[in-house]
């Protein structure tokens, strides 16, 4: 069953990048929540979430992102999200999250350039 979510955390120019591969839904969101909370706990307030290889995200996944964005907001943190797929972008637009401390990018180079 292709129900998994793979997560890796790396750093580029001291900026944490969370690479996500797979689907973020009610089954997999706890994994994502655990990883992003650890990154925030390590005092990172500008975080890049790479969703280039995410096939699907629903409101539970967006809930994790929104909750994390709220945690970093007091430190002027921004959630930088890389996603090129139109159907994923549409979800962010419909959710209204882009009115908060979120920025979307088409690729990693754009995101790193904006953050650093």
């Amino acid at each position: 069953m292709s129900l998994s979510l793979q997560i890796k955390v790396r750093e580029e120019k001291n900026i944490p990048i969370i690479d996500l591969i797979g689907e973020i839904d009610v089954y997999t969101y706890p994994q994502f929540s655990e990883v992003i909370n650890k990154v925030i706990h390590d005092n990172h307030f500008n975080i890049i979430v790479n969703m280039e290889n995410v096939k699907y995200i629903d409101s539970t996944g967006l809930g994790v992102l929104a909750s994390s964005a709220n945690k970093i907001a007091p430190n002027n943190g921004v959630m930088h999200v890389i996603c090129a797929q139109s159907h994923i972008k549409k979800i962010f637009i419909v959710s209204g999250l882009l009115e908060k401390n979120f920025k979307l990018y088409d690729n990693e180079a754009e995101a790193i350039s904006s953050v650093s």
């Binding site: 839904d25 009610v26 089954y27 629903d58 409101s59 539970t60 967006l62 809930g63 419909v94 959710s95």
Partner: protein, 139 residues
């Protein structure tokens, strides 16, 4: 051939791990029914949200011994998908607020992405979510 009537029924355990299978199955039906890729992706998300609601609200916890029915039916130029659980149901007064873990977006997504959404629920009998997506004629 696109737009021929299609009827597909799925019965899956009331477990979160089956969400991906349900979404992929309905997405496949949508494409076969003649929906565009974009509309099929919209349907994938709406179905996922409906299934999540069934998992989160029908019982106190996930139940392998209970099931959720998913019925897809194309007729009259539209695809109707029904997500039906047999759990506790609710009344208008104690209507749940979308996803427990999400940010209250589950119902919003369904209503934004589908042409019509209707929810029927009866206390102690379960909940059915009816969603319709029109099949736009291809040029």
């Amino acid at each position: 051939m696109p737009n021929d009537n299609i009827v597909v029924s799925l019965k899956v355990p009331s477990l979160a791990k089956y969400g991906g299978i349900v979404r992929d199955a309905v997405y496949g039906v949508a494409l076969r029914a003649g929906l565009s890729v974009e509309d099929s992706e919209d349907l994938r998300l709406a179905i996922g949200e409906a299934f999540t609601n069934a998992i989160q609200y029908s019982y106190e916890e996930e139940r392998a011994d209970k099931h959720v029915d998913i019925i897809c039916n194309t007729a009259n130029g539209q695809l109707e998908v029904i997500i039906k659980d047999y759990g506790r149901g609710f009344t208008e007064e104690d209507k749940p607020e979308s996803n427990k873990v999400g940010i209250g977006l589950g119902i919003t997504f369904m209503q934004s992405l589908m042409d019509d959404v209707r929810i029927e629920s009866a206390l102690g009998k379960g909940t059915s979510i009816y969603m319709i997506k029109k099949i736009s004629p291809k040029l």
